[in-house]
Amino acid sequence: MNPNLPNSLRTGPDERGHFGIFGGRFVAETLMPLILDLEKAYADAKADPAFQAEMNGYLKNYVGRPSPLYLAERLTEHLGGAKIYFKREELNHTGSHKVNNVLGQIMVARRMGKKRIIAETGAGQHGVATATLCARFGLECVVYMGAVDVERQQPNVIRMEMLGAKVVPVQSGSRTLKDAMNDALRDWVTNVHNTFYCIGTVAGPHPYPMMVRDFQSVIGDETRKQMQEAEGRLPDSLIACIGGGSNAMGLFHPFLDDPSVEIFGVEAAGHGLTQLHAASIAGGRAGVLHGNRTYLLMDDDGQIQDAHSISAGLDYPGIGPEHSWLHETGRVAYLSATDDEALAAFQLLSRLEGIIPALEPAHAIAKVMELAPKRPKDHLMVVNLSGRGDKDVPQVGDILKGKKK
C-alpha cells in the first residue's frame, strides 16, 4: 500500500463531495438547489436514530437481512486453494444487493415529501428494487432502461411492470445504461419539483456516491461480524464485480482501514480490453460525466465511448468516483474478466454449488477462479454474490445453444 495515504480511508468525501480529485457536483443549475436539499435531508436522516431504527426494521423483515455468509465448500475444493465464502446478497428480496440502497433512498424521499420516483436501470435489478419499494410505499415509479437492455433482460421488465412501474425504453445513444441515466437526468430536470431521482450506484453528483455507499455498507458490516463468528478473524481478501461499483463499495468500505485485507474489484472486459469492453479503470481515464469526475471510457476529444459487456448491469463506460480514488491510492486492485470468462464461471457455479449467479457477480467468480488456487488453504476469501441469475437464464440459454453471441 501507498505509505502516503491518510490515516483513514473511510472519511471521504470532503464537504464538496470530492474523493481526492474525483467526485464533485457537475450538474445543471436547475438541479443544484435540489441536490443541496438532498444533501441536507440525508445528513438529517443519518443523524436521526428513528430513521436508522425504521430502516433496520425493513432491512430485517422486508429485505430479509442479514444475508448469509456461506462457505462454498465444493468450489473451494475444486479450486484447491483459498477458503471461499459467498456473501449471499442474491438471497435478498428482489434478488440482489440493489434493495439495500433503494430502501434507504426511498425513506429519504419520503422525508422530503417526494411522491414521484425515477430511476435508471441496466440489468433491471435496480429498476426492480425501485419498483418494489415504490409499490410498498405507494409512490409513482418511472424507470428508464436502454432499449437494448429491455430486449436482453425481459424478465425484469415484466417484473417492474407487474409491480406497477412505468418502464421507458431509451432509444438515444447506445441505448444502454449510460443513455438511461441521461434520460433519467432529463426527466429530473423537467420534473424537479415533485421528483426524487433514486440513483442505483455509487456514482452521480454528491451526495449520491456517499449516500449509496453508506446504504450498501451493511454488506461489509455484516461480513465482518459473520466472519468473526465463523472463523474468529478478519477475511484475508474481498472480491466483487464492478459496473458503477455499489455492491463492491458496500463490501469494501468497512474494511478499507484493515491493511491485512486484500481487496479486488472486477470490471467487465467484454470481448477483451483491446476490443469492446466496459472496464473504465483498465481502459479509461479521468473525465466528467453524469455529475461526477471519475474514470471514463472516451476518445481523444472527450466524447464518451460505448461500453460493452455481456452483463447489462456492468455495461457502463464509467465507475463510481470513490473507486477511481481507491485505484489511484492503490488500496484496491482493479482486475477485469471477459464475457467468456464470466460465462464459464456462471456455469461452474451453477453446477458446483447449485447457485445460478447473475452474470454480474459471475465476473467476480471468474477472478476467484484465478486468485483462489494461488492462495494457501487458510486464506479466507469473500466474494460478493451480488445477484441471482434468474434474469439471465433466457439470455445465457440462448448463448449456450449457440443462437447468438
Binding site: 445543471a28 443549475e29 438547489p33 445513444g173 437526468l185 466528467v288 472516451m298
Partner: protein, 278 residues
C-alpha cells in the same frame, strides 16, 4: 475589460432594443456547411451567436439538439475543429459576439488552460457550460475570467433569491435565464411568468438578462424580447436545419437559406418588441 458582448449590449441599448441570440451546433450537418450558416447569421439579424460544442451525452438537451450533436460528431467534428470554425468566422466579422455552449468533459480533456488560450486567440468571447454550477467555479469559471473570457451562467426557475447571489457572483457578459424547468426544446415559456423572473434577477444584477428554452416563433420571440434584454432561439433553428437535409442527413442547397430565413423572421419579431424595462 470590455468584451465584444459588453460592446454589443451597449450598442443595442443605444438603439433601444433587445438582442436576438441564435444557437446552432458546430459542425451540423458538416463542418463546411456549418461555417457557411454561422457566417450568414449576422446579416440575417443575429446579434449574438451561440455555438454548441458537440458532446455524446448532452444531459440538458432535448431530442433535436441531441441529434444535431450526433450529426456533427458523425461528420468528424471535434472541439479543435469548433475553434477552427470560430477562426473562420472571425476572418470576416470582428464585431459579432461568439459564445461557445456545451458540456465540460471535452474541455477538460482538451486541457483547461490550453483551451482558454486557444479559444481567446480564435475569437471566442464567452462560455456557457451547462454542467458547471457555481459550486465548481474553480474548474473553469475562474480561469476563464482570468483569460479574458465571459463566463455566462444559467439561472433557472429553481434558482431562488437566496441562491441567486452565488449564481451571479462570477457571471459576466450576460445572464442566461432558462425559462422552464426542463430540457431544450421541450416546453413553451409563458412571457408573463418570464417577465417576473427577469425582474427578479435584475434586482440582483446590472448584467443584461437573456431568456432561452421554449422560444420557437417570431411572436414568442417578440413577447420575450419585450420582457428581457435578449431572446435565445436554438431548437427551432436546429429543426429548420434538419428539415432541409436530404434523406441521408446531408446538407442540400436549401440548408443555409432555411436557417437564415428563419433567423430573419425571428429577428423581425425581436426588433418589433419594445425595449425591455431597465
Amino acid at each position: 475589460m470590455t468584451t465584444r458582448i459588453d460592446a454589443r449590449f451597449a450598442e443595442l441599448a443605444k438603439q433601444g432594443r433587445s438582442a436576438f441570440v441564435t444557437f446552432l451546433m458546430a459542425g451540423d450537418p458538416d463542418p463546411k456547411t456549418s461555417l457557411d450558416i454561422i457566417k450568414a447569421l449576422p446579416k440575417a439579424g443575429a446579434d449574438i451567436i451561440e455555438i454548441g460544442m458537440p458532446f455524446t451525452d448532452p444531459m440538458a438537451d432535448g431530442p433535436s439538439i441531441q441529434a444535431a450533436g450526433l450529426r456533427a460528431l458523425k461528420a468528424g467534428m471535434t472541439l479543435k475543429k469548433t475553434l477552427e470554425m470560430v477562426r473562420g468566422f472571425r476572418k470576416d466579422d470582428d464585431a459579432t459576439p461568439l459564445v461557445l455552449m456545451g458540456y465540460y468533459n471535452p474541455i477538460y480533456i482538451y486541457g483547461v488552460d490550453k483551451f482558454l488560450a486557444d479559444a481567446k486567440a480564435a475569437g471566442v468571447d464567452g462560455l456557457i457550460i451547462v454542467d458547471l454550477p457555481p459550486e465548481e467555479d474553480t474548474e473553469l469559471c475562474l480561469p476563464a475570467m482570468k483569460a479574458g473570457l465571459n463566463f455566462i451562467r444559467l439561472a433557472t426557475p429553481t434558482t431562488d433569491d437566496k441562491r441567486l447571489p452565488a449564481v451571479l457572483a462570477n457571471t459576466s457578459g450576460f445572464v442566461y435565464y432558462v425559462s422552464i424547468t426542463g430540457i431544450t426544446g421541450a416546453a413553451t415559456a409563458d412571457s408573463t411568468v418570464v417577465g417576473d423572473a427577469v425582474a427578479r434577477i435584475k434586482r440582483h444584477t446590472k448584467l443584461p438578462v437573456c431568456v432561452g428554452f421554449g422560444i420557437r416563433t417570431p411572436q414568442a420571440a417578440r413577447a420575450i424580447a419585450g420582457k428581457a434584454d435578449g431572446a435565445v432561439v436554438g431548437t427551432a433553428l436546429v429543426d429548420a436545419l434538419r428539415d432541409s437535409l436530404d434523406t441521408t442527413g446531408q446538407a442540400t442547397t436549401k440548408t443555409v437559406a432555411a436557417v437564415a430565413d428563419l433567423v430573419a423572421s425571428l429577428a423581425q419579431g425581436v426588433r418589433g418588441a419594445k425595449q425591455a424595462a431597465e
